[in-house]
Subunit: 492 residues, 2 copies
């Protein structure tokens, strides 16, 4: 968290008594990078703060399951045979883990300072995690993270994607962009890059990343089999999952709910299947004429996830690519399967959330969220966008921010940035900043609309500063103090 | 309107029969500026197309009421004594004016092409105007405009402000910005500039403006009395109204609903009164200890408005300056007075709409709109923003777009752009483009969500083009083809 100290209110006139203003504590995702006392070094990674929280030592064992050319710099851990080491498992055992305590403190930041208590206690966090209504993504092999929680009753979080599925990534550029994303408030990072150096890039990103990081494992599995969709198979996918889980990937986007029978539902569509993961799996099913192997092996996937406490993010391979296709039978058919998969994940104590993305008009957003909450028994919803029109090429961050603010208000627990030029290319630094800040505004608007405890304190402090012409305080309290100061200076 | 021709769908394979794609007709606000056959000239102004629609000649008479140093280049007209020349008056007389026919065609653009009919007929337009549910801003002295309609049952419109209340305007810059605003889809223009050359600037802007233009007359009235709020009086204000109405100002923002007794309601506020118009009137009331002269002279204001068919936009002087103050008793007290003023305007056949702006959290937007529709008997609502957080300095266009999309969906008929650096300075060309396009996206999202006839045709055509990789069509159909092409070229 970050404390913003405020100047005194000058009472003016002959009355010389100044009035103190309480400092404002804000949620901060920049990790060690904003701490002047810590010298960071991209080669060695950031401090592994959770390593000493070793409460679960007796459940886990060191050693790698997959043969790698370059062995990871740190020994990976996994659960002992038959054990589950997930936050959900401990929560159901009525154990409050340090992670749960951490997020309770983190979410309550402002109220603590004011001496108030909200309902968000460590035990409340435990209950929400135990019932699957919230998740704490924290792979045991990613001790660098500052734990955070995703759930309807907590602050709305923002995910950011780095990399691009069709551009070969530069290692240093990716690390810099990951840090840049955390600086502007990205609560989570999804690495969607592909290419030959994908393992090394991911290792370096994760070792330098203070927020949970995720991937779409199908992209790398496809690389492993030479890019041939037909050659894709469960062993290659399983190895990818284990390899990534050992590196510390905190969540996997898995398109397991897209079944063979659903493909028929996409014929009346205007834009068919547009999700890259969905395209891979549908192509595989067509070529093999078999059921999606991610669905048939879902219990095996859960088995891996529970050994590392990786979260499963059930991807929607049938997300609508246009307003015309929104909320159609294909999308809902997949959603119902997602609901069943959520239950199966929970049986194995695996933390799970579902994805919603694509193009949905404003009047259909609430409907989709109600259906998702019903079918998925309240599992957290992560929404990328949705875009509320089709015509906004070059302004994708605007149209998707409109949709994201509404989904977040109506119950999405995390919203995923759509970069400015989503349709075209890998985002630049400025694109990342613009889209993350836009999404932080959407998330914050939703927190206020939902009446999240303490969420309005920052707004009130800023408005008070504005009405008293305390410019410095106003700038410090604003969502992007650098840009606000720059604009102010230009004006003066 | 503008027709976008599409290329054929190539069926591929041995089948060589191409499929034709219907052209898409889109609403266009650029007037003569996008017509290669018309040579425009800022000195002489654009063609005065409505001048030959002279249906109302027998009701109007030439001649100016106010003594001006530089007489306007065109003779101003006004209604003959006792006559009303407003669209509402003719609508109530069951006359379908050319303006009503024009907007009916304009709103139906796409469906006409497909050979379909929607409910928006000239007579439907007439009924909506007669009942005050919609307005057609079209001052008889502004024949340059292409008429447009504002109402819940029509396309959501976008207003753009040019000028800045504390910066002396440059004439050519203002004209260029007005044209620029029309190019990007601004349906209406509000000139909020002040300064010594205000009359000349306005004259030049209006003569070159193909969309309705409005002002806040209090700004110029204040100039007339030397900038001294205390010296402000009804005669100065009345002269300003007449002077501007003779120039062709299509709507006046009037803070007539802010009463003396309301000032007490603002004491518990965090940010007090933040509207500039509201501040002027509240200061005047405090210094004189009298009722708001705009309220006491409201019938006189209507008398002027009906003589030129100027629309009254009832400003909300008590709009909340922060989330904390949203939907408070002050705001609602003013709203109830607005409702009474709407009735008084309608009694004189004056077209009227009400303004809503400031900071309102998402969960309170629908409530405000329902109250507005109830108290103001369905008179159109024009909403500037609202901003859904207080902390977005430098990103005002994002936070206000989130609010604007929701207000438009729930019933606002027009949304007003908040420029990127609202808090700081006069917007640049790029700021205008960015904020107008963001608002066009919000308006279009609302049209789709409301199910406006034909509003989804453009989205469907674009999505079809995208799924068939007809890139050129996709770019032409997108909201800002120039930017979309630029990004595509950069990527290639």
């Amino acid at each position: 968290m970050r404390m913003i100290k405020l100047t005194d209110t000058l009472s003016g006139g002959s009355d010389t008594v100044d009035k103190k203003n309480n400092p404002v504590v804000v949620y901060d995702t920049s990790g060690p990078y904003s701490d002047p006392k810590i010298v960071t070094d991209a080669l060695n990674g950031i401090p592994r703060i959770r390593e000493t929280w070793g409460r679960r030592r007796k459940d886990i064992t060191p050693g790698s399951e997959v043969a790698m050319d370059d062995y990871p710099p740190f020994t990976p851990y996994r659960a002992k045979k038959g054990k589950a080491v997930t936050q959900m498992f401990y929560a159901k055992r009525r154990m409050i883990t340090p992670e749960m305590e951490y997020v309770a403190i983190r979410e309550n930041q402002q109220l603590e300072l004011l001496g108030l208590k909200s309902y968000i206690t460590p035990d409340f966090v435990r209950k929400e995690v135990a019932s699957g209504q919230a998740i704490i993504p924290a792979n045991i092999n990613h001790p660098e993270i500052e734990p955070m929680i995703i759930g309807r009753k907590f602050l709305v979080k923002v995910n950011n994607c780095i990399g691009h599925p069709s551009i070969e990534p530069e290692v240093d550029d990716m690390i810099e962009k990951a840090i840049w994303s955390c600086k502007w408030g990205g609560d989570m990072l999804t690495d969607i890059s592909t290419g030959s150096r994908i393992h090394e890039v991911r290792e370096r990103v994760i070792r330098n990343c203070p927020v949970p990081a995720g991937t779409v494992p199908a992209y790398q599995a496809l690389e492993k089999v030479g890019g041939e969709i037909k050659a894709l198979n469960w062993p290659a996918y399983r190895d990818t999952l284990i390899e990534q889980a050992e590196q510390g990937v905190d969540f996997f986007v898995i398109h397991a709910a897209l079944l063979k029978k659903h493909l028929d539902f996409t014929f009346p569509r205007l834009t068919g299947i547009v999700s890259k993961g969905g395209l891979i799996m549908s192509e595989w099913m067509k070529q093999h004429n078999e059921e999606n192997f991610l669905y048939t092996h879902f219990d095996d996937i859960c088995d891996i996830a529970k050994s590392y406490d990786a979260v499963l993010l059930l991807g929607n391979g049938l997300h609508p690519g246009s307003i015309y296709d929104a909320n159609d039978s294909a999308q809902y058919a997949e959603l119902r399967v997602m609901g069943r998969l959520v239950d199966r994940a929970w049986e194995q104590f695996v933390q799970v959330m579902t994805l919603c993305s694509g193009h949905i008009p404003m009047n259909k957003i609430h409907e989709y969220i109600k259906e998702q909450q019903y079918h998925c028994s309240g599992a957290p919803l992560c929404s990328f966008g949705p875009a509320t029109t089709d015509i906004s090429c070059g302004y994708d961050h605007i149209t998707s921010t409109i949709g994201a603010a509404q989904t977040a208000w109506h119950g999405a627990s995390m919203i995923g940035c759509i970069p400015v030029k989503e349709t075209f290319e890998s985002p630049t630094y400025d694109d990342i900043r613009n889209s993350i800040v836009a999404y932080k505004i959407a998330a914050h608007s939703a927190d206020i609309a939902k009446g999240h405890p303490g969420s309005q304190v920052r707004d009130n402090a800023l408005s008070k500063a504005r009405s008293e012409s305390r410019w410095k305080d106003e700038l410090n309290l604003s969502i992007d103090p650098e840009r606000a100061s720059k604009y102010l200076k230009e004006t003066l």
